[in-house]
């Protein structure tokens, strides 16, 4: 095994590891997409205090926020098939990546719902009243007046959420999928040169999260601030 660190291996491993980036991207995109839709649903349930669903939503959000995502990953992995079996759906043949996607989607929904909730409540009551006064329905008021403003308010927090989601994908490999981290691990255990793989990962994670941050700051300056 010899030397601890060989810089040439960093260049050698980089393409191997980065080629798995699409998997990471897939997780992030699905997590954010599902998170937004489900999160909006949860937020509405909680704001309208829908009976039973509201209580369930409170419990759900608290659980997701209070437990590690690794634990959630494995609970979904072992528990989801059992649950669906009850209704006669067999998913035991699913590939692991699907469980990862489900977990990250559900996880994000909880966090998104909190963001959406505080964003909506940050829109002054007068806006809703004004919307009703010109004859919009409740749903129309939400869609045409409240949500667009809430979106502007929530944008910076939303950006942070995306970056956090990206960073949390570093744990998806624990389920055994071959994303970037999984690939680095595999290379490491094959060659005993783990450090070079970790360095590649660190570079990629640093670069992407910085790019994402810059992107959101830029977008905020460009599109959001001038509209407020």
């Amino acid at each position: 095994m010899g030397s601890l660190f060989d810089i040439r291996l960093v260049f050698e491993y980089f393409p191997l590891i980065f080629s798995r980036f699409p998997i990471t991207l897939l997780i992030v995109v699905v997590a954010i997409g599902a998170g937004l839709v489900l999160g909006l649903f949860i937020a509405l349930v909680r704001m309208r205090k829908v009976l039973l669903l509201n209580q369930f939503a409170i419990l759900y959000v608290s659980f997701v926020r209070g437990t590690p995502i690794i634990v959630q990953l494995f609970i979904i992995y072992y528990g989801f098939p059992l649950l669906l079996e009850q209704v006669g759906i067999d998913i035991t043949q699913w590939e692991k990546i699907y469980f990862v996607l489900v977990t990250y989607g559900l996880n994000n929904a909880a966090f998104m719902s909190e963001i959406i909730r505080s964003a909506i409540s940050s829109v002054p009551d007068g806006q809703r009243e004004a919307a009703y006064s010109v004859g919009l329905s409740r749903w129309q008021a939400l869609r045409r007046v409240i949500l667009p403003q809430a979106f502007l308010n929530a944008f910076p927090v939303f950006g942070t959420r995306v970056v956090n989601t990206f960073e949390s994908t570093s744990l998806a490999f624990t389920l055994g999928i071959l994303d970037m981290v999984g690939q680095a691990q595999a290379i490491g255990s094959r060659t005993y040169h783990e450090l070079e793989g970790y360095v590649v990962l660190a570079i990629i994670f640093i670069a992407i999260s910085m790019i994402l941050e810059k992107l959101f700051v830029h977008a905020e300056k460009r599109f959001i601030q001038q509209r407020r």
Partner: protein, 244 residues
């Protein structure tokens, strides 16, 4: 295999014994993070020579590294040199098998320092420049201003965020099972290694983490209220005196 709550309890009872490990893995880094994170934030605020520009470069970069990578890299950096040494010296073996908890604490602490320095930086920004100027105008030095006026106003603002940081560390510390440290997560799994009841084990772990996090949230909320009360303390006391 059917879900059996009985096994959740078995796992739960085993895992509970490792709560101190999980707490050590999060509270020690929290403490180190508050000390050094505050120091870094203050150095950046006061533009201390060398340290401030250095921190300006390092913090945003290191912030991008996920906790699990910190852990892997630290694990490698501390253990591998001893692997090499162990081929020549027997004593290195002793260190080689040093408790990995220490490696985990070091890795999580580095992560905590970075995160908390950002928390403290934005909390520092909540104190207006006028407060510093008023201090200087009555003849306080920078450090006196910091200690007597600025930090007492910063901490009440920072506490809720520090609470979130701690919850993040508690949850994040579960990654240490990857380097075989036995914490709540790994403790719950020890029973599953025997009876293959993995779902039940993970649910047991989840319940414990959930409990710890809820408790942390409550404690920090109480602490925050206490701090706020202390700030406006006398008014409420006067009120009480008048009522009595």
């Amino acid at each position: 295999m059917v879900f059996d709550f009985h096994y959740v309890i078995t796992s739960f009872i085993t895992a509970v014994h490792y709560i101190p490990v999980t707490l050590a893995l999060s509270l020690i880094p929290l403490f180190i993070g508050i000390v050094f994170g505050t120091l870094i934030a203050v150095c950046r605020k006061f533009r201390i020579r060398f340290i401030a520009p250095l921190a300006d470069i390092i913090i945003p970069v290191v912030k991008g590294i996920p906790l699990v990578l910190h852990l892997f890299i630290m694990n490698f950096l501390i253990l591998k040199p001893f692997d090499l040494l162990a081929q020549y010296y027997a004593w290195a073996d002793v260190i080689r098998f040093m408790d990995k908890v220490y490696i985990a604490i070091i890795a999580i602490s580095i992560y905590a320092v970075i995160i908390i320095s950002e928390t403290m930086r934005s909390a520092l920004m909540s104190v207006s420049e006028g407060q510093y100027e008023a201090c200087y105008s009555v003849g306080l030095t920078r450090w006196q201003a910091l200690r007597r006026v600025v930090l007492p106003q910063v901490f009440p603002v920072a506490i809720p965020v520090l609470g979130n940081n701690l919850i993040g560390l508690i949850k994040g510390s579960s990654v240490v099972y990857l380097i075989t440290v036995v914490d709540v997560m790994n403790g719950a799994l020890t029973t599953a290694q025997i009876n293959y009841r993995f779902l039940e084990a993970y649910i047991a772990a989840a319940l414990i983490y959930w409990g710890i996090c809820l408790l942390t949230e409550r404690l920090f909320a109480v602490w925050e209220n206490h701090m706020k009360k202390y700030q406006l303390g006398s008014a409420k006391n006067n009120l009480r005196q008048e009522v009595l």
